[in-house]
Symmetry: C2
Subunit: 328 residues, 2 copies
């Protein structure tokens, strides 16, 4: 049997964490032949609740789960880890300004970047889920000078999957029959869900839906889907966010389907005119544990302006936490 993969999850006692850890332990993330070790990291005041999660994991008798570590110490949680999934973040409290939210989280994620740099495997792959995810990933990466920038990503896979679901509904098709969905930009209201390259059962998407539908209905619905879920459930998305984590890491580790791509927020290489370094969602393909940004897609003027608007927001977020970025 293969050696176990070590997976660290922060905020593991929260709603998304609770929906995630059982799926990772069941083999959904790395397949049915890959044992896993879970390192669950929480803040001290959540350790009692986390102990219950640990007991329930034991109670599932997952054949692939070779060890469970529960800790509030980053030195233990990140030690030699292969994958760091950073969910725990400070939520926006009532009356808090966006600037303060970004600054508070920048402190958390710069500390985690330092811990990952110091303790994790040199090949660690990092996925940031806690918001503002793109800028949190930027800060974590900037504080991990011994690691490559492309080891740090943020999650737009939930937006990507939401877009697949809506397009499948609209075209009365199965999600498995849709290829080349793209989410560009920031995981925020400025994200740009983009269907122009999509095929449905091999047909061009615009044989089946109109550009007006995309602009007037599809794009705003994906951008506001989080609020729609909160209205219905009274709680924010948890299981669907956890599922997107499974998909993001699964595809990064094991590869994307031939002829298809996925959306991941990754440090820009300057592609599509986006400033190098900001963490921006692109269409990517993955193979052998590495992602590659899809090149050469044509963008019309509307698309370029949407990408620029999201880039602008990301530059503004970066400006807010500029003081916390290491010089150099």
């Amino acid at each position: 049997m293969k050696p176990a993969v070590k997976v660290t999850i922060t905020g593991a006692a929260g709603h998304i964490g609770y929906a995630l850890v059982f799926r990772v332990a069941s083999g959904a993330m790395f397949g049915q032949k890959q044992p896993v070790i879970l390192r669950l990291l929480e803040i001290p005041q959540s350790m009692s609740s986390l102990s219950g999660v640990g007991m329930e994991l034991e109670d599932c008798a997952f054949p692939l789960l070779h060890d469970i570590v529960l800790t509030d110490d980053p030195a233990i949680g990140f030690r030699d880890t292969d994958y760091a999934i950073l969910i725990g973040a400070k939520p926006r409290s009532k009356g808090m300004e966006r600037k303060d939210l970004i600054t508070e989280n920048a402190k958390i994620f710069s500390a985690q970047g330092k811990s990952i740099n110091r303790y994790a495997s040199e090949y660690v792959r990092v996925l940031v889920v806690g918001n503002p995810a793109n800028t949190n990933a930027l800060i974590a990466s900037a504080n991990a000078p011994d690691l490559e920038r492309n080891q740090f990503t943020a999650m737009t896979r939930l937006d990507h999957n939401r877009a697949l679901g809506q397009l499948a509904n609209k075209t009365n098709s199965l999600v498995a029959d849709i290829n080349r969905m793209t989410i560009w930009g920031n995981h925020s209201m400025t994200q740009y869900p983009h269907i122009d390259n999509c095929t449905v059962n091999g047909f061009s998407v615009f044989d089946l839906v109109s550009r007006d539908w995309a602009i007037d209905h599809f794009i705003p619905r994906i951008q506001r889907r989080g609020a729609e879920i909160i209205n219905a459930r009274g709680l924010s998305s948890a299981a669907s966010a956890a599922d997107a984590v499974v998909d993001h890491v699964h595809d990064w580790a094991l590869g994307t389907r031939d002829g298809d791509w996925i959306s991941m927020a990754v440090p820009s290489d300057g592609g599509y005119g986006i400033e190098e370094g900001v963490v921006f969602s692109y269409p990517v393909t993955c193979k052998d544990g590495e992602y590659e940004i899809v090149k050469g897609l044509e963008l019309d003027e509307l698309s370029i302006s949407r990408l620029k608007a999201s880039e602008k927001e990301l530059r503004e977020e970066r400006a807010i936490i500029e003081d916390l970025l290491p010089k150099g």
Copy 2:
């Protein structure tokens, strides 16, 4: 591609339901080549919350999920269904006596038995999770005269998996290396977790643990594990219960491992001296969608007395709802 399996889940907006539906849709229950249709059945006052669950299922873009039906109408929820997973039940409220709890649930599950008899596939398989699970399964079955009794089961797989987890911990082994764990009796404090037939890596269990440990520590801990989880989490077991549902149905549909067995509460065939008809947890093997009670195991006097005590409780539960059982 195979035709989709229709799976009806009651109480789908509750904690266990929320932990379950995404795993079923992901392919964990029937494998990665079997499409599924989910029929989620709730009480009218939970339909708004259920609509949020439905949206999140869409948002996961599960390739195997071919349709989602959300309803509070049993005629729609159970129509032609292949699997009915009955989670929704009346919980014990403050000051409620056990007798009242059993009677209230007997009303719910007799109605569901009638609906399943009328609307479901003639080959439907039923798993009762809502407590008191064994007696609820008995009532549902008694109200479904056109179906076979062995189409109705209740869940003791969570107890079984908890027992595997504890024995793996104690013997410092992997759960995959343990065979032939058994839970006998009622899914209640009178259940009898029984390790005498277990092997660990091929060794007899008593080469590794003592009978005293089993009696003084292991058995009471499994019996009281639910309360232990509530103390730690402040909430009852949800993800681990959902995982046990996945395992129970998976193994019933696709078969148990060679040389191993699982625990399922099924209508007694009189085996091991248990009165015919009461729904009692036995060791069973499964093949081609049918279960078979393991025969010929030797039981010592202690074990026989434990089985009898649990049978007595099940007879008492049945006596409480005798009036609701159809004559015949």
